[in-house]
């Protein structure tokens, strides 16, 4: 943690206070220097200041906690079925695309450390229309993502019954997912206990279990003990195409890094912690994903993995370490999908708040309930559709639509960076500058849009329909709102 401002440099003293002079727009935001960006944003407007309470650890926990559930505990079976051992390449491609977006997003976040993340950057950088499409798209994108995580969570909860030897007449994944969706929404409506430390703990436990399991699995696969497995042909019969299609499918596993930016308003020392948390969380989960697929495909043939479906990793663990391994992975899977689902529901509610604050939807959507201090309307707007979508149980479709809506946003984040650097408005003074900005953002935008092309037609259709509907809403409700450059 950084040192706080000394008593002679109060962080906030009101707009008319001479101590609040901001004279260093490119302040490095180093350890002993008060965070200039944070000061500008938190400036007391006569209605109170905002405490920033999330440090670097908390930021990393949000990023990793949101992402790791999907890539390790839901996708390996599906991905291996489609792309064979080359599915690890699919995950690597996803990581590269995510990094290409995370770097420009970091620059934008340090110039605009406000709640709302990608939506905020795009509406301020590119204008209201793209902002509205992305803002409403982000809300629904997170709704789809949450529903996807809930089905994953349901699968692991169902696995508990299997491990306990209780036979159920129907596959319990979907009903359990729906039940968890209702439960989590209620929890976020009425639960006022702070869950940050819980989230940090969950992520720490997960990383320990996974590191142990993957180290063991890798050593085994390489033949250090046991028998070296004969690797099957790396590329699937279709060549590179299935690999790219799989990359588009599993990209949902990388949606979490931008969630760090949606709570940018709560992050301490944002100039330093935002870029670090975003980039580092992508790198960490990327490595875990690639190794996971390597271990999984060395334990079983790809086709067999595909049969195991969402809970393939449980069988992989059983193969290596027997029943205790299976139990460990079931527990880890429950924790991971739970934390992903929970984080996404909360992010979806933040997205609703961000668009409502800007008058793109009625202000009543972000009303806070004084008794519980929670935004009940926004949480309802998130939780309701999430439960409905989870009931469909369409794992791959939900994942792809979520990825589609996020990829549109990611591409536009890159475009916004290029445009803001070109125009260089006065307020644009990021403290972190993306290296080779134009090149990275250019490739990032192209890669984001290109990945969409490899999705199933149904996902692309639903994604486009959502965007058209969002644009229609903007034309109907908020053409008179001007957001470009507004703070």
């Amino acid at each position: 943690m950084d040192a706080p401002d000394g008593p002679d440099v109060p962080e906030s003293g009101g707009p008319s206070d001479p101590r609040r002079e901001i004279d260093a727009p490119n302040d490095p935001g180093g350890v002993d220097v008060p965070d200039v960006l944070a000061e500008v944003v938190d400036a007391d407007t006569g209605e109170g200041e905002l405490e920033r309470t999330i440090g670097l650890t908390g930021g990393l926990a949000i990023g990793i906690g949101t992402m790791i559930g999907a890539g390790i505990f839901v996708f390996p079976g599906l991905a291996a079925e489609n792309a064979g051992p080359a599915a690890s390449l699919s995950f690597a491609i996803g990581a590269v695309v995510a990094l290409l977006v995370a770097l420009p997003a970091s620059e934008l976040a340090t110039a605009m450390p406000r709640s709302g993340g990608g939506y905020f950057f795009i509406s301020r950088g590119l204008g209201t229309a793209p902002g509205a499409v992305v803002g409403l798209g982000l809300w629904l994108g997170l709704v789809f993502a949450s529903a996807f995580y809930l089905v994953g969570l349901g699968s692991y909860a169902g696995q508990v019954f299997l491990e306990a030897g209780i036979a159920l007449p129907v596959d319990p994944a979907v009903p359990l997912g729906v039940a968890f969706g209702v439960g989590l929404t209620a929890l976020s409506l009425f639960g006022t206990e702070n869950t940050a430390s819980l989230q940090n703990g969950i992520v720490a436990v997960l990383l320990v279990i996974l590191t142990l399991f993957l180290s063991y699995g890798s050593l085994d696969a390489l033949g250090v003990f046991g028998t070296e497995s004969t690797p099957e042909r790396f590329f699937p019969p279709g060549g590179l195409l299935p690999v790219l299609q799989t990359a588009a499918l599993v990209f949902t596993s990388y949606l979490g890094f931008a969630q760090v930016a949606t709570v940018a308003g709560d992050i301490k020392d944002p100039s330093r912690n935002l870029p670090l948390a975003m980039v580092a969380s992508v790198l960490v989960v990327g490595v875990f994903y690639v190794v996971t697929v390597f271990v999984a495909t060395s334990a079983f043939g790809s086709a067999r993995l595909g049969e195991f479906g969402e809970t393939a990793m449980v069988e992989v663990a059983r193969e290596f370490v027997g029943f205790p391994g299976a139990i460990a992975i079931v527990v880890a899977g429950l924790l991971a999908t739970f934390s992903s689902a929970n984080a996404s529901i909360l992010s979806a509610s933040r997205a609703v708040y961000a668009v409502s604050r800007d008058d793109l939807i009625p202000a009543s959507a972000s009303r806070i309930n004084l008794r519980y201090g929670t935004p009940h309307v926004a949480l309802g707007l998130a939780g309701g559709p999430i439960v409905v979508l989870a009931a469909t149980g369409q794992v791959e479709l939900l994942a792809e639509v979520a990825s589609f809506l996020h990829l549109v946003m990611y591409g536009l984040i890159c475009v916004a960076l290029i445009r803001l650097r070109r125009e260089g408005p006065d307020w644009y003074a990021p403290s972190f500058r993306c290296p080779a900005g134009f090149a990275v953002a250019g490739v990032g935008a192209l890669a984001s849009f290109a990945l969409i092309a490899f999705m199933q037609p149904a996902s692309i259709g639903i994604g486009i329909a959502v965007m058209v509907a969002a644009y229609g809403w903007y034309r109907y409700y908020s053409t008179d709102v001007e957001l470009k450059g507004r703070f």
């Binding site: 706080p4 962080e11 006569g46 209605e47 109170g48 905002l50 406000r114 709570v263 806070i368 519980y372």
Partner: protein, 257 residues
């Protein structure tokens, strides 16, 4: 903002008026209790209104909705305190974690003490619990700053450690008394009490009942940094009157977790 201290005069709060943080959970209906304006008439009061928001809510969101109401209430409280003679600085913070906020403000305003806001009918007799030699200077600055030149009677109180004699205790307290007199207090208004008691917290709370307010130190610095460390919290709960918790000096760059 109500800021009656010229911000460009850094020596003022240091020498003239001890800075005291008064935290109020303003939207939960907390207000400065009866007696607070009298107790802090000579202080530089940092009046902190805070509102704790669950993590699922953005702090901006709460400020937008409740900021104006909360600020208006605080300004009203600040007026009452200023009428009694205090200089007042108002801070309103929307936070997910009150500890972080209170800690930050103590540090930013270099507060000598934090008030546990309980009510009292009058301010005539104050109990000052002295733990040891550490932090005596800050204790003395606070007590003299608040009560020098007033009619308030001060009782200096020390509970003996196992290896201390009554003489040791009296030497300690007389040292504090001399320091208070140096700072302008009337020696006739200062009483010294040394006692051998089993549980310091019980003893302080018991003695507090005969007084209108208690001033005591922070919990053992090696154990916790939280302002309402257990002993002072326990005293406040039993004594039911206002407790001023003297904050230890914070070394540079240490105040955060």
């Amino acid at each position: 903002m109500t800021d009656t201290t010229p911000p460009d005069d850094p020596t003022r709060t240091e020498t003239d008026r001890p800075a005291v943080l008064v935290p109020l959970e303003v939207l939960e209906g907390e207000s400065p209790p009866t007696g607070t304006p009298d107790l802090l008439a000579n202080a530089h009061v940092v009046l902190l209104g805070y509102h704790v928001i669950p993590e699922q809510t953005a702090t901006e969101q709460a400020r937008e909705q409740f900021g104006e109401t909360a600020m208006a209430k605080l300004e009203g409280f600040a007026g009452t305190l200023a009428e009694a003679g205090a200089t007042v600085e108002v801070r309103l913070v929307f936070t997910h974690d009150e500890r972080t906020t209170i800690d930050r403000l103590i540090y930013e305003h270099d507060c000598l003490a934090v008030l546990v806001p309980n009510s009292t009918e009058r301010v005539e007799e104050v109990l000052v619990a002295v733990r040891g030699t550490v932090g005596i200077d800050r204790n003395a600055r606070l007590v003299a700053g608040l009560f020098a030149g007033t009619d308030v009677a001060v009782t200096l109180y020390h509970v003996l450690d196992d290896d201390e004699t009554t003489d040791d205790g009296e030497t300690l307290l007389n040292g504090v008394k001399a320091e208070l007199v140096d700072r302008g207090m009337d020696p006739d208004g200062i009483e010294v009490v040394v006692e051998d008691a089993a549980a310091a917290v019980d003893a302080i709370a018991r003695h507090g009942e005969a007084h209108d307010a208690v001033i005591m130190g922070e919990t053992d610095p090696s154990v916790t940094t939280f302002v309402f460390g257990m002993p002072s919290e326990q005293v406040a709960e039993r004594f039911l009157g206002p407790v001023l918790v003297v904050q230890r000096e914070r070394p540079e760059g240490e105040a955060e977790e």
